[in-house]
């Protein structure tokens, strides 16, 4: 048979038609998985049948902006000390029962068993809630424990999944809240209570409701190993504005599948995927296909293990930065999914411009410059013999960069980097590692000289810089206290010094980073400026490219997709739909 005798995706479907997309949050759907948002292979699709209290706008600098989810509106206390949620007045679960404040409270109880920033059981955790209060049928107030506040508290609350208590009720014991109270205290009693709650976590994770009951725009109808079918939830509060009647959620194991679907014009939307240039060309020539690009809060860095020679020498790192042509690397490795980093700041270029303003331009851009590189290398004591660089003691310098084998864009990028370095007289090669877990383990054990490392994981400033000056570089926060571990210990594989010199002044970047947890406003901005400068001069990583959130949409069947640079590109398309954007094409 050919594709012709199958019902075309969407098209002639009744009502609002069929919307086809892919679950971008791997590990994806699994026929055996429970319909449970906490389960990593659970068949709860964010924004489609799995609902959060609200959806973050992922604003460049302000983490506290949201789109409504289960909550219709909210008030945040100015000092972030509490948040009051107001639920949609007439909202009902797909089985007809109303969505109540009790459901929210119960779901928060579940969140405690799973751990989250806002709902942590260990005392002293930063940004944890101290109280959850049902104000009335449709109102809940959550208060932060101000002993150790965090700017991420609100975001932590909003990110919670909300599930129906009448379905999940059996999972938690009746005295859960008492236990929780006990757990947040101190002493043996508390310890025991914490254990009990932890023990519940497995039960929660494994809980499999017999059928999907959702307050989202869709409910799960049926699935096979590669696809799931969702149908519209008539009880959803905004059901009238939900475009598609059905959603087909495809599973994928390799990017090449997404490419093929896209080329065939089968997908109404596909989340960000690395795409080779020619495939891109074919995709864009398919009728109706379009590409929407936006900010993706993540960058790729080439990180050094500073406990290894010669990478302990900042001049070597700078020299290497001068030798790498980031434009070319990006063109080869991620032509569609990335833009060459303007320089190394530790932040994605977009928020960097926002946070740093004019200071950004003052940072060293590390443009390709062989002369400068040689200067730096000479400063570091390296010698060039017969066209090849050697270490100060005359031994050959072998530059080895490690990347995990499944990440093809990283491999291409690393190959491009080594090719450039080889051309400049450095004996460079790429070594791959079988898979990501192994890569991370060996990286953490300090086995690699140089490795690829995701940085700038925004939007929260602490999250951004903890990639450079966090656990992987020795700094960890334990019980609210900052500690620094020796290189090679406690996951410190970057092995940078505890204090570095920035413009002649000594700075402890880890300390600065930790402060970002609670700092706000101008203070935050100042710290980020300092850290950006530190990263730019010290170069714990060479920032290669900033990811671009490249999404594919097809306007043959639906319209109303977010525009370029929309905040919503960082939310799953289920959120677009529930917000009433996506409409069937007339």
């Amino acid at each position: 048979g050919s594709t012709g005798d199958k019902p075309a995706a969407g098209g002639s479907g009744s009502g609002g038609g069929l919307y086809t997309t892919i679950d971008g949050l791997k590990p994806g759907l699994d026929v055996n998985g429970p319909i449970n948002p906490w389960n990593p292979k659970g068949n709860a699709f964010l924004g489609f049948n799995a609902m959060r209290i609200a959806w973050s706008k992922n604003h460049l600098t302000d983490p506290n902006q949201f789109y409504p989810g289960i909550a219709a509106s909210w008030e945040i206390a100015p000092d972030n000390s509490s948040i009051t949620l107001h639920l949609h007045p007439g909202n009902k679960w797909s089985d007809g029962k109303p969505v109540t404040a009790e459901d929210v409270k119960f779901s928060i109880a579940l969140a405690y068993t799973q751990g989250s920033t806002a709902f942590a059981i260990d005392p002293g955790a930063a940004g944890a809630a101290s109280e959850v209060e049902v104000v009335d049928e449709k109102t809940v107030k959550i208060t932060q424990d101000m002993d150790n506040p965090s700017v991420t508290f609100v975001r932590g609350v909003m990110d919670s999944y909300i599930v129906p208590q009448h379905v999940w009720g059996s999972v938690l014991p009746a005295d859960f809240w008492d236990k929780l109270k006990a757990a947040r205290g101190e002493g043996a009693e508390a310890e025991k209570a914490r254990e009990e709650i932890t023990a519940l976590s497995e039960k929660v994770l494994a809980f499999a409701p017999p059928k999907d009951v959702s307050a989202g725009p869709f409910t799960l109808e049926r699935m096979n190993p590669s696809e799931a079918l969702l149908v519209k939830n008539k009880n959803f509060y905004n059901a009238a504005n939900v475009g598609p009647d059905q959603v087909k959620m495809l599973n994928y194991t390799g990017n090449e599948q997404i490419w093929n679907y896209l080329i065939a014009g089968k997908l109404d939307n596909a989340p960000f995927t690395a795409v080779p240039a020619d495939v891109m060309k074919r995709i864009t020539t398919t009728q109706g296909n379009g590409v929407v690009k936006g900010y993706s809060p993540v960058s790729l860095g080439m990180a050094f293990n500073q406990s290894k020679k010669p990478y302990d020498n900042v001049h070597v790192r700078r020299g290497l930065a001068y030798l790498i042509n980031r434009d070319e690397v990006t063109k080869i490795a991620s032509p569609e999914g990335g833009t060459p980093a303007v320089t190394t700041t530790g932040i994605h270029q977009k928020p960097a411009a926002e946070w740093l303003g004019a200071d950004l331009a003052a940072l060293e851009p590390y443009k390709l410059d062989v002369a400068k590189a040689e200067e730096e290398f000479k400063e570091a004591g390296l010698k060039k013999e017969g066209g090849k660089w050697t270490l100060p003691d005359g031994t050959p310098w072998k530059f080895t960069v490690n990347v995990p084998a499944p990440f093809s864009d990283w491999i291409s990028g690393a190959k491009a980097v080594t090719s450039q370095l080889t051309a400049a007289g450095i004996d460079a090669e790429v070594v791959t590692t079988a898979d990501y877990p192994l890569y991370l383990k060996e990286l953490a054990e300090g086995k690699y000289d140089v490795g690829f490392w995701l940085i700038a994981l925004g939007p929260a400033p602490y999250n951004i810089y903890q990639r450079l000056y966090g656990v992987s570089n020795g700094w960890s926060i334990l019980g609210g206290k900052l500690k620094h571990a020796e290189p090679g210990k406690n996951g410190n594989w970057m092995g940078g010094p505890e204090t570095i010199e920035v413009d002649g002044a000594k700075v402890n970047p880890g300390e600065l980073t930790a402060k970002l947890n609670s700092a706000s406003g101008d203070e935050q901005k100042k710290i980020i400026g300092q850290l950006a400068k530190a990263a730019n001069q010290d170069l714990p990583v060479v920032q290669l490219w900033d990811y671009v959130n490249t999404q594919f949409v097809n306007t043959n069947r639906f319209t109303g997709f977010p525009e370029n640079d929309s905040d919503l590109l960082r939310q799953p398309s289920g959120v677009w739909i529930q917000l009433g954007m996506v409409k069937k094409k007339q």
């Binding site: 199958k6 590990p27 055996n32 292979k41 991420t152 194991t253 093929n260 383990k441 995701l454």
Partner: protein, 335 residues
């Protein structure tokens, strides 16, 4: 019949020991797989925007399903679980039993591979006879060489070639999945048609890859039998050609049944490349996933399943042989 029972008992005893040893070996090999699945999951969560502390906590919860205790203790737990036919809990799909995961993946491996094997067996056997009869002619040569070539070429080469042709150059076949979700699963023409359509490429690859082996085996078997005296004797008695042909065919195909049974045993572990290339959600793909997620219980379960299948196939092959071959049936030993 006692002969048969004795044989069976012996086989079962040996098979059990085999399974035990293989399970033990694979247990320790699997547990020594390095790599930090927690770190990988953590990275993923952080990448998705979760705060580092929350991600850390979430990962700890997820890995609450991993067995604890010393390696030795884990081994004892695992083996005693096996006695109760409990293969443990999957880490990848937390809270779901390994046997459930295995079972749902196994059917997507077994059905296409079975179809491929039987298809290639039938065609291969027929062509093998032909190649044997025409062995001195050009056609026989071509058949034999193409058989060797197909037998020799690795599965992934065939899969990639077929994939390149049918999905890149002439995109007429789906490359991934099991069926179109729009069809209600069950016995309806649409669903079954879609199943067949989606399985075409994997089955075709598997059939092509094993076809070469069958043609070679059948050819050499037929050539051997044709050289046997009893065939000439039958001809000299004026036995009809059809009957002589049946003599040849039955005697020649007999050893192939053993190979067939054995290869059916192998099918559980046999399709990793095909499943990876066509993204067909069978055991192979599941195993790769299991390894990538360091799902020890799942890996162990897969190894066990494959081993048991091979052992059972061996037993079945032998017993089957002893049933259909009168020489073995009466305990004289195969020729």
């Amino acid at each position: 019949m006692t002969m048969f029972a004795r044989r069976l008992a012996g086989h079962l005893a040996r098979g059990l020991v085999m399974v035990l040893v293989v399970t033990t070996v694979s247990f320790f090999v699997i547990r020594s797989v390095p790599g930090d699945p927690m770190a990988a999951r953590y990275e993923k969560l952080v990448e998705q925007g979760m705060s580092p502390t929350a991600a850390q906590r979430a990962v700890e919860v997820l890995y609450g399903f991993a067995p604890t205790g010393s390696l030795w203790q884990q081994y004892v737990d695992y083996m005693s679980g096996l006695l109760r036919l409990d293969l443990g809990q999957s880490l990848m799909v937390p809270g779901v039993g390994v046997s459930t995961v295995l079972f749902s993946a196994a059917k997507w491996t077994v059905l296409p591979v079975l179809a491929g094997t039987l298809l290639s067996f039938l065609i291969g056997v027929v062509m093998g006879v032909y190649a044997a009869i025409r062995r001195s002619g050009r056609l026989g040569d071509v058949l034999a060489i193409s058989g060797s070539l197909l037998h020799g070429v690795p599965q992934y080469v065939l899969a990639l070639l077929l994939g390149a042709v049918f999905t890149t150059l002439i995109p007429i076949l789906p490359t991934s999945g099991t069926a179109d979700i729009m069809f209600e699963p069950g016995f309806n023409a649409g669903y079954i048609g879609s199943l067949i359509e989606y399985a075409t490429l994997p089955v075709l690859t598997y059939a092509l890859a094993s076809y070469g082996g069958w043609i070679l085996a059948m050819k050499s078997s037929v050539v051997t039998v044709l050289g046997d005296d009893f065939i000439l004797a039958a001809e000299l008695r004026g036995i009809k050609r059809g009957i002589v042909f049946r003599y040849v065919a039955r005697n020649a195909i007999l050893p192939l049944f053993t190979i067939l049974a054995l290869s059916l045993g192998m099918l559980f572990g046999g399709a990793i490349f095909i499943e990876r290339i066509f993204n067909y959600p069978g055991l192979g793909l599941m195993l790769i996933d299991g390894i990538n997620n360091r799902d020890y219980a799942l890996m162990g379960g897969a190894f066990l399943l494959i081993t048991v299948a091979i052992v059972v196939a061996n037993i079945v092959a032998d017993l089957f042989y002893s049933v259909i071959d009168p020489r073995v049936r009466s305990g004289e030993g195969a020729r």
